[in-house]
Symmetry: C2
Subunit: 194 residues, 2 copies
Amino acid sequence: MPSADPLTPERILEATEDVLRRYGPAKATVVDVARALGVSHGSVYRHFRTKSELREAVTARWLTRTEVALTEIINTSAESAPAKLQHWLAALFEAKRHKAGDDPELFATYIVLIGESTVVEAHIRELVGQLREIVEEGVRSGQFAVDDPAVAAQAVFDATARFHDPAYAAEWQNPSIGAEFIAVSELLLRGLRA
Amino acid sequence: MPSADPLTPERILEATEDVLRRYGPAKATVVDVARALGVSHGSVYRHFRTKSELREAVTARWLTRTEVALTEIINTSAESAPAKLQHWLAALFEAKRHKAGDDPELFATYIVLIGESTVVEAHIRELVGQLREIVEEGVRSGQFAVDDPAVAAQAVFDATARFHDPAYAAEWQNPSIGAEFIAVSELLLRGLRA
């Protein structure tokens, strides 16, 4: 729907997500996005120089939402490092599971976008970096005994792939998945403890 | 090539694997298998009643080869349970990595067959059952402290998915994968230890 609001990058990204959901990633064009906003496609290109730059930006925005929510666990919580780690892993699983379950079409769209994008590597680096902060905090407080926090963080991320990698999305509705998640995360926590 | 040897199930399965590799799972037929063996398709159907029964059998045979190799680690080794577990996980990773790397076409064929088959569930049950035996042995020897060996075995299997699930086959040639495998398996071993 055309609007008199100024054309911000955020408004373009919102419209792009909507157009991608409606037409699918194979068919959605910049002209569709411009039409949805009631502007010329030239106005969209002033903010995003190419179609692929626009798609990268919308994928990055989608991934960043999860990162921001997880950062809050690291920064605001008064929990111990082990509790924070448990909490962070559960929040990551929940976030991914919700994205997959609440709007399966949009999720499928983003899986296609992620496949053609390099932003997912930055996303994984960010998540492993957050895990490393928690591990380092636990080492400082004497609750974790770990030789190399970067290696341990990567190992925790790899070992929980079943609970955050979209390749497993089909299994996230299994009745046993919650118990399996708890078993893996508790085993990893025991492995980190001093 | 026609042969005068008696038509055993094993010979049919070998010929089927060969036909699947050559024609691909979408095109391979029972007639192709019979022709490769120099027999009528009726002779093949005497051993495997349907095309899908034949495909299930060839998939099961492929998966069973890995299971048998791993059983030997459990049965013949004089290692402690922790060493055995490390050894078993490394052997599973090696077996899968070899299957994927040595003959990528056959591997891709089996991924298709596995997708249409139920035998993979039995394969996973067998592997988790073997892990459970090792965990139980470690509990008996006092080296592992675990509430429920079945739950722990499933957790170890799930946490090492990156190193045995064919969904990750493309990453098994990464230079860092060996170090990542060691980091995950050592973390899990620490988590199991008494």
